[in-house]
Amino acid sequence: MSTAESISLLSPDLLAKLERLELVSRKVFRGRMKGERRSKRKGQSVEFADFRNYVAGDDLRLIDWNLYARLDQLFLKLFQEEEDLHVYALIDTSESMNFGDPTKLHVAKQMAAALGYIGLCRADRVSVQAMGAEGRRAPVLRGRSGLWKMLDYLDSIKEGDNTSLYESVKDFSLRNSGTGVVVLITDLMDKGGYEAALRMLVGRRMDVYIMHVLSPEEIDPPIRGDRKLIDCEDGDETEITVNAYVLERYKQTLQNFLSSIKAFCSRRSIAYLPVRTDQPVDDVMTKYLRQRGVVR
């Protein structure tokens, strides 16, 4: 690992800003350990949750004696439990992510690191993973001290795992049975389609965020004339004569693609966040994601 690369992922300024942020989970999940998040579990926080009838064997310390005096019945006073949150950041490492300046993969790593650091600061259970085989060795981290491990892991991720989105998500779901927040950082350029993968995540009651990373070259391609386009993932070739008309058609197709994703996500309560690689990561984390209610 090189420190320079780590620092390039997250600047000290950004780290300071990130420490003040918190990931917003639109769902309440059960945690695994005591944490700072409100849990579905009743526990020992200061926040009142409910009453219930006393049954034999309950802790007598939880009986609400004031109520007993008034009603002559035994009720237990229940409090909210505060537990940790599972935060997963899944990074698409396919060849297509290696495009743009900076590359989409680099931007994806920055996003993942930033989100992971926010989670670590909030004592969440953070797992930043590359999709595909690389994800299996991803560490599960908790606490601020896990930052360096996370960055080490991110640095070790190399592009070139062209496993399909669906396969990767399936592999991830099998490995991680728990629920939590999943941030999928990808360009969604999968010829097999993205729908099945997202459906699987939603089906596992995950709170799903999609960060759709697109480079400016994909939004407005600088290609003109007679060209043979080669897909870097599968080597697929498309011969095309690019003129104004075809470019217009391409942009139209891109817009249709984005709208269909957006529609798909909104129907399934998936937060869809398109991100351009030419946007500074500071702005994305501290302004764009706050505006969209991802962090606060």
Binding site: S96, M189, I223, K228, I230, C232, N243, T253
Partner: protein, 667 residues
Amino acid sequence: MSWISSLVPWQWALFSAVPIGIILLYFLKLRRESVEIPSTYLWARTVEDLHVNSLFQRIRQNLLLFLQLLTVLLAAIALWQPGVRGQASSQGRLVFLLDASASMMATDIEGEENRFEQARKMIRERIDAMEDRETAMLIKFSDRAEVMQSFTSDRGRLRDALNRTQLTNRPTDIVGALQAADGLANPKRSSTSGDVNDIQVADPKPADLLIFSDGGFEDVRDFNVGNLVPQYIAIGSDTPRNVGITAFSADRNVEKPGDAQAFGTIINFGAETESFNVSLYVNGEWRESESLTLEPEEESGLTFSLAGQEDAAAIELRLESSAPGAARDEPLKDDLSIDNFAYAGLRPMRTVSVLLITSGNRPLDLALNTESAAKVCVVEEQDIDFIGTPEYEARLEAGLDDLIIFDRCKPETMPPTNTFFIAELPSDEWSWSSEPGQTILVDIDRTHPLMQYLDLFSILIFEGRSVNGPPGTRELIVGDAGTVLALAPRDGYQDLVLAFEIISEGEDGSAQSNTNWFADRSWPVFLLNVLRHLAGAADASAAPTFMPGDTVRLRVESQLGEVEISRGSGSPDIVRTGASGSVEFVDSDMPGSYRVVAKEKLVDLFSINLFGIRESRIKPRETFELGYETVETAGTIETRREFWRWVLILSLILLAIEWWFYNKRIA
């Protein structure tokens, strides 16, 4: 629709390689630059969208190819010169008669240089419209006919022949051209038509005779059109403007040979009144101008006096513009300019030399020594015995005499000069056609210069005969028994024969009068005419004038081996002199004053002028007589309407569309 190929087969073969090349280029895969992109996912979908209407898309893909092939196809069609011609009843054989005479220089055709070019254009269009089964020949005519191309169906050769034709300054004579056409359309039989064993030389073949002319020629009456179907295409506008000089001559005053006079006749042939100046130039220097206004068809004669003109002079008459603001020497601008200039020459003064050989003829002596005759001639009289002497031979050899008068005698061989025989036949070519007897004069040809001013009907002839001359003999006086006075040409000379004696010899040897002519006033006048026109005294002052294209025959001193003949300041032609000093000059197409110079000394002068009322009257004739037929103008001939220009324009438009489309594709 008919087609005319512009290319020869090997050129077509080369041309056909062009579309093949274009198609081959399309078969070759376009060399596309490879670009690696994150995913072809969206591109593939874009292309799929474009393929929604696949037929249209395929056409879009190959539209450039289609456009290019279509452009080449249209270019090929244009090269085939498609055209449409109306229905024409053609005999299958065409004879084009192209008038190349001076009147065809008239510039009254809009859009063309002159009538000749218009006629050539019309012939070219008719050649283009020829069908394969048609053959044609081209005859150009002016004062003579020239077959430019005999019958052929090769349009290229006809066009080449047409391009070779040139306009001339000559007058028009259509007869030769008609005879040339006639010889091919109406071949003569080899012998008699009743003979069954006789084989005709050739089958008579009908032909269209297309006469492209302005009709400036004489009606042809003794011509049988036979199988020819004449069609006259009149060339020229109906209201041309032309003022022309129809006659111009200069002559010395007989009384005062140092003075000369120039006479010109000018006619307005146009339909409007014309005003202009007539200027006289002597040796290129302006001498005098006169302003003239002529109504349509009005004729005017002008006389200019030239005092103290003793030397030879080239005299020129010009019609000049009198329009306000015009320069003094600005030529008059009408439709035919060649007749706005006329030339004449004044020879240096000289006297003619006459040798009279007689055994005694007092009336002749008296007439040759009158005061008027003495001014123009020097007479030397010799006896009949003089013929055959060495002195006589030497005289002939030196060519000293302009005229020899043989009175009742004849030489062994004809002398190389003009002769006048009285009561004797010059040679075997001549014969008596009647026995001697009293002769009564019947007719006199007063149009001949020798006969001018003569009134002969009161004279008596006691004993005379009549003569028959060689071919070309002109009868000047005809008596009751035949020709009494005849003039015949002989190798450039002329022989005059009088068929009766003036003084006859009686039985006792005494002289007796055979006629009372010498007592008549006309006798000295006749001899003066002989001196002036046969001996050349008149020629001696006024230089002869010839028509363009004529062969100019002159006599110079026989000692001169060669002479230089030049017009204006042009380079001279060197002409060798023939026997006894005759000079023949054929390069006489250009009007002008010509000088004949030998050993840097002016020997003679002559002029070439287009004095032809027919050439100057440039309004095209509506009809003319041809044999027994009246040929009317056909107006226009049927021409071919060609479309190749439109096809070519369409091809260029397609090329532009192709370029626009290509740019749009790669933009």
